[in-house]
């Protein structure tokens, strides 16, 4: 019993002699969390460390962590703080632009001086044109910064941005007014278009058949319901073109994002956790 008691007392004393909350230990713990991809808690620990010691690597890691947890605004502010003397300066500049892109802060791109920009930065600045409403540069100027392997894909994105394959809501409505459902087929809603054609045809036939057989009341009822389906289809076709255009925009942005993620936003991958 005495042995156990002594063991407990000694263990407690030993543990108290270790300062687990020293900045160095916090950094070690933060490194562990960072390499475990627990960026949220890593950032908290690094922020505790950086209160005691200035360290560019840690500052970069904090900014990188914020970027990973999708707090792009904070990430951009911290990347901007990394000074020119730091080894991480050029990486931080690229990461800063990436954060601006992901935060959809496209206005900031207009104030960037391109004279001192690296190839990666120029690429990211060009990418900002694809996402924003800023006026696109000339095609050759746009493609100049990209490598041969990237050019084909970027050309597709450029052309789609310049001339998106939108559908006209007026034309969709007009087509549906001529042939019910045609507007929906025009906006790729083939199943709905055919259904509309069948429904309109059915009500037209029922109305015609009832009038022909002197069932005037039923004829008018079917004609009225058919007219509502007809008008509803014209309205639906026009709206469907708007929705189609929004889908084009959505898929375009998703494709560009996928391309960028595949190429890691043209930024060299870091080896912090070998």
């Amino acid at each position: 019993m005495i042995r156990i008691f002594l063991f407990v007392i000694i263990s407690i004393n030993f543990s108290y002699s270790q300062n687990f909350h020293s900045p160095e230990n916090k950094k070690l713990f933060a490194d562990y969390l960072f390499c475990s991809e627990d960026y949220l808690r890593a950032v908290i620990e690094y922020e505790e460390y950086i209160k005691h010691y200035k360290n560019d690597t840690v500052l970069f890691k904090i900014a990188f962590g914020y970027s990973k947890i999708e707090n792009f605004k904070q990430a951009a502010e911290l990347f901007k703080k990394i000074c020119m003397q730091s080894d991480f300066y050029y990486r931080a500049r690229s990461e800063y632009l990436k954060s601006l892109l992901l935060a959809e802060n496209f206005e900031s791109f207009t104030s960037i001086d391109t004279k001192e920009a690296s190839i990666t930065e120029l690429k990211l600045i060009n990418i900002a044109y694809l996402f924003s409403e800023l006026k696109l540069p000339d095609k050759n100027t746009f493609l100049l910064t990209f490598s041969d392997s990237e050019k084909n894909e970027m050309l597709k994105f450029y052309e789609q941005k310049k001339e998106p394959p939108y559908k006209s809501s007026f034309l969709a409505g007009l087509l549906s007014s001529v042939v019910p459902g045609a507007g929906k087929i025009y906006t790729n809603q083939i199943s709905e278009g055919l259904t509309s054609l069948v429904l309109n045809g059915l009500f037209a036939f029922l109305s015609y058949n009832n009038f022909k057989n002197d069932h005037t009341t039923r004829g008018w009822i079917f004609a009225g319901v058919g007219a509502f389906f007809y008008a509803g289809n014209i309205y639906g076709s026009a709206v469907s073109a708007n929705i189609y255009n929004q889908r084009v925009d959505y898929e375009y942005k998703e494709n560009v994002k996928l391309f960028l993620e595949t190429h890691n936003y043209f930024i060299e991958r870091y080896e912090f956790c070998k």
Partner: protein, 148 residues
């Protein structure tokens, strides 16, 4: 020391005994399937007389037909609730056109599972505000909408 250890162990056992009530108590178990239906709002806003008339028809439809027939619409909100929302968000004419367009979508069964996002109730999410003039919006399918 042994006596103290035994006393502490026994104390913990007697401090948290399992009562007979907990062991053999009656449980109110039900085998009925939880209703997926969301509460109907039968209220009528009399400020707009046209909307009030439309809502009265829908209330009558809900009370006399829909509630008896069962909850069969594959969409959320249902076609009748869509009509109410469409009329409230636009006007009676546009709302009626939106309703007939929705009815066409409802009748179009081929491949519709892949065209709409899913609501948490398991139905296809297709609210009226996505089709309002000037605010039509695209929601990608295969995502689950967690709002009522």
């Amino acid at each position: 020391m042994k006596i103290i250890s035994v006393f502490v162990l026994l104390l913990s056992v007697y401090a948290f005994p399992q009562s007979e009530k907990m062991k053999w108590g009656k449980s109110n178990y039900t085998y009925s399937i939880e209703s997926m239906e969301f509460g109907r709002d039968y209220s009528i806003n009399f400020e707009n007389s046209v909307n009030a008339v439309a809502k009265s028809f829908i209330n009558a439809y809900w009370f006399l037909i829909s509630d008896l027939d069962g909850d069969n619409c594959p969409f959320y909100p249902s076609c009748s609730a869509f009509f109410v929302d469409a009329v409230e968000e636009t006007n009676i004419v546009t709302g009626t056109l939106m309703f007939f367009d929705r009815f066409t979508r409802d009748a179009s069964v081929i491949g519709r599972q892949n065209r709409y996002p899913k609501h948490k109730s398991g139905r296809l999410y297709d609210p009226a505000n996505l089709y309002c003039p000037g605010s039509a919006a695209y929601i990608p399918p295969l995502i689950v909408i967690d709002k009522e």
